[in-house]
Amino acid sequence: MIDKRIASLAEAVADIFDGATVMIGGFGEAGSPIELIHALIDQGAGNLTVVNNNTGSGHVGLAALIENGQVRKMICSYPRTLGSKVFPELYRSGKIKLDLVPQGTLAERIRAGGAGIPAFYTPTSVGTPLAEGKEQRNFAGRDYVMEHGLKADFALIKCQQADCHGNLVYNKTARNFAPIMAMAAKTTIVQTNAQVELGALDPEVVVTPGIFVDRIVTVSDPAQESKLVAEGRRYP
């Protein structure tokens, strides 16, 4: 029988290994799987490459993971959000690497990684410093850069509802990177606000089919990152 539910956050992230590439869903706090990130802080894996659009804010969630010294490199498009202080300090002191990728190129690279596309061409970044060193090619009179698919060992994502097969639906703009990260990771670990019976999700409205999901943990009352930051909270 197929039942991807896992009892605890600790169990769900137990096998994330030193040096792993970990995609983490969320655009700012929307869709950020903050409890899974905190479980990864407790677990302690280091030397991680983390893929996220941003670098977290305050001293909780992704920012706390970075502050805890577990991240060797960030692959992201915008590491300078309001309230993001941890990353800039570590970056300036040379303690963390940054691979800066335009947001749409990041999204398309992740989708390509999940879709078995090793590389594709995009007009984004042509003529800019972010295209330097990249292969360029002209199609029908326009220049494009070649970009590579991006895969990960693990994805940590958050959703609104999940069934035991791993079918997922999301809440509004919290969807953002989660569906494509679920495709691109060898092991996709989901925290869901609620679990529903198999068959409760209309097959027409499933956003992430269960084939892309490996583990589901219910976190029925997830923390809100901006509240924690406003309260000056730190993790651990």
Binding site: F27, G28, E29, A30, G31, N53, S77, Y78, P79, R80, T81, L82, F87, P88, Y91, R92, L98, L100, P102, Q103, G104, T105, L106, A107, E108, I110, R111, T122, P123, T124, S125, V126, G127, T128, P129, L130, Y170, N171, K172, T173, A174, R175, N176, F177, A178, P179, I180, V207, Q224, E225, S226
Partner: protein, 224 residues
């Protein structure tokens, strides 16, 4: 120039946004950048319906919610709380940027650090060695959206022109800007360089030329 005259010269931020809104046709799909561009939505003339896209995954974005109704999972690309209008749809990031890259969005309005007379745009980095580089979706938007409008102060705070022969800051995209809405004028980017479409109140062509580093043509402007 007296202080009183200086105050009357040019457009303020609200007026820049209002002027830009005039050029957004009924039925357009529009993406508005952070800052002054966000204000454009308030000034679209009555009778026009415009659909707003925010690259984090929403088409049919509405205005900010009333206080207390904010949903931290319903935000725009600037990470501010927004609403979803009837006819809205949510989608993931790869689909959202497919809309952008695939030239489905009609107009994007962005801020700028520099615009060259070839239409090159620099708006993401000063290139200073200690700056944290951050690009977000700007490069995708300028490469993918059909028409790029820029709203910007004509000069920096220290009076340096932002409209230049060639950008000194790192580029966001090459030959991408169609039109610039500054506090002093509306200016098209043409094969012959910058061309004035309209001068702001109290601004003369000579005044504008002194504050513009690139090639500037009087063009078909109205006003003085």
């Amino acid at each position: 120039m007296t202080t009183e005259n200086a105050q009357k010269l040019g457009w303020n931020r609200e007026e820049m946004a209002r002027r830009t809104a005039l050029d957004i046709a009924d039925g357009s799909y529009v993406n508005l950048g952070i800052g002054i561009p966000e204000k454009v939505a308030q000034y679209v003339p009555v009778g026009r319906e415009v659909i707003y896209h925010t690259e984090n995954g929403l088409l049919g974005m509405g205005p900010a919610p009333i206080a207390g109704q904010e949903d931290p999972e319903l935000i725009n690309a600037g990470k501010k709380a927004v609403t979803a209008l009837p006819g809205a749809s949510f989608f993931h990031h790869a689909d959202s940027f497919a809309m952008i890259r695939g030239q489905h969005i009609d107009i994007c309005v962005l801020g700028a650090m520099q615009i060259s007379e070839q239409g090159d745009l620099a708006n993401w980095s000063t290139g200073e060695p200690d700056a944290i580089p951050a690009v977000g979706g700007a490069m995708d938007l300028v490469a993918g959206v059909k028409t790029i409008y820029v709203i910007t102060q004509h000069c920096t705070k220290d009076g340096t022109p932002k409209l230049v022969e060639s950008c000194s800051y790192p580029l966001t995209g090459r030959a991408v800007v169609s039109r610039v809405y500054s506090d002093l004028a509306v200016i098209d980017v043409t094969p012959e360089g910058f061309q004035v479409v309209e001068l702001a109140p109290g601004v003369s062509f000579d005044y504008l030329r002194q504050r513009t580093a690139g090639k500037l043509q009087a063009g078909r402007q109205k006003g003085s």
